[in-house]
Symmetry: C3
Subunit: 204 residues, 3 copies
Amino acid sequence: MFYFIIDILGTIAFAISGVLVAMEKKLDIFGVFIIAFVTAVGGGTLRDILIGSTPVVWLKQPVYIFTILGAVAFAVIFVNHLKYFRKSLFLFDTIGIGLYTMVGIEKGLSVDLLPVMCIGIGTITASFGGVIRDILCNEIPVIFRKEVYATVCILGGASYFLFRLLPVNEEYAHVAAIVVIIVTRILAVKFHIALPNIYRRKSL
Amino acid sequence: MFYFIIDILGTIAFAISGVLVAMEKKLDIFGVFIIAFVTAVGGGTLRDILIGSTPVVWLKQPVYIFTILGAVAFAVIFVNHLKYFRKSLFLFDTIGIGLYTMVGIEKGLSVDLLPVMCIGIGTITASFGGVIRDILCNEIPVIFRKEVYATVCILGGASYFLFRLLPVNEEYAHVAAIVVIIVTRILAVKFHIALPNIYRRKSL
Amino acid sequence: MFYFIIDILGTIAFAISGVLVAMEKKLDIFGVFIIAFVTAVGGGTLRDILIGSTPVVWLKQPVYIFTILGAVAFAVIFVNHLKYFRKSLFLFDTIGIGLYTMVGIEKGLSVDLLPVMCIGIGTITASFGGVIRDILCNEIPVIFRKEVYATVCILGGASYFLFRLLPVNEEYAHVAAIVVIIVTRILAVKFHIALPNIYRRKSL
């Protein structure tokens, strides 16, 4: 139940971030909904397609589509007041990527993937909704350029497998990894930590 | 047989619309063919991938690839005369999206999806070929901006499930939904009806 | 064993070509890795998704992810010296597309696809990693515009099925098709052969 609430709050935060990007592109209401939808469920959809778990999860659980419809309606109506929710949305988003990373890792483990692949699948689950959003909006994905978004997922996923080496309950490793993701992301945003950009100094 | 002819005419109309977009981007002949191909079969391919019906349909039925090859050859050779076919192409395209919406809905029902998901799958079948075409051509998908394309699919799909509540033969509901899609689309184009664009009035 | 070495060399060449494109877009190190990764395995991933062979191949064989990590590290560190490897990289790339085309064709045959579909699947395997790379980098895919990349895969795939009509060992047909791809590509690049671009002379 606790996880379910986090999942819904994360879905709302992801959907609203999609609405804001879509509005900047002056899309119509259908376009805004689709961008919100792929932002929220795109990562999990790509994960399900890559591992072959079909029909993909949102086709089987209608709670996602209705949550996203509600979030889009809310965001479109209250767009001028969303700034008052900015901190809540950042928090939901951050808790969301922590949860989604672990959901992806568990799905990877359930089909017997190696830890390194599970971390990859967890990162895809948490961060590739935004990649698909940016592609549909004709932008180079922001997480390839300046966000330490995927990096915290990789860190969190790696720490999960490290924690499991310790003599602790698996559930603790799970929660600890989510905490690592949340804390790392908040610190990274607070202190403006980013990955180095790589320039090509001379033409080949 | 009747459905098969509509399917082929729709494929031709979709492929030719792809050729016209690809030519504006000055692609080479391989690029033109690929754009025509994804426009024609991209929606059904995405549907099959999402529900896990693989190999996807065009891999199993070679009629699509040969129809598209023929349509591309025709469009490239007679590009200066395509304007004489504009009305026919619009009609084929419109009948095509009606049919494809219902094909998608039936495929959704066959894997026990809820009506709301079937409508989504039908809309994807009919309209996401154009989305993939626009992404490959480096454009924000036109149906997110100014076409009432997906909207008529959603309307038609919803009316199908409404018609099925009536004490009529399922086949009638099927045909009636296609008619709803065709009539709505013609009216929308004729009277320049479009969804409202959503602007973000103030920065967050 | 021989094929395995070609596969790894091809993966390295594809990954490095991804690094070079990503650097021009000034991506951060995560973005550079993802672009290298999709360039190297994107074609095979799309193939596996279309035919339903999941989990996709790189999730099951960790050799790819580690090879790509090594290739990215090498390319980023020695970017100013990559010009000395240009000919080797072109050769690896060319041998790679020959091999990948045949890998795709064999996977198509293993799920009973018709020859024309196997050729398509082989071409997707060899050339659509670059298509996904270009889409993620917000460019119209280069193989749709000016590279005779996919065309040589189609030629090679078709010649494989022609060779099999001859009374020779299947293995010979296999190698002969790869040789056709390598030779055609080298000749096309040497003599600047390209497909004609198609312009739309008059607006519809």
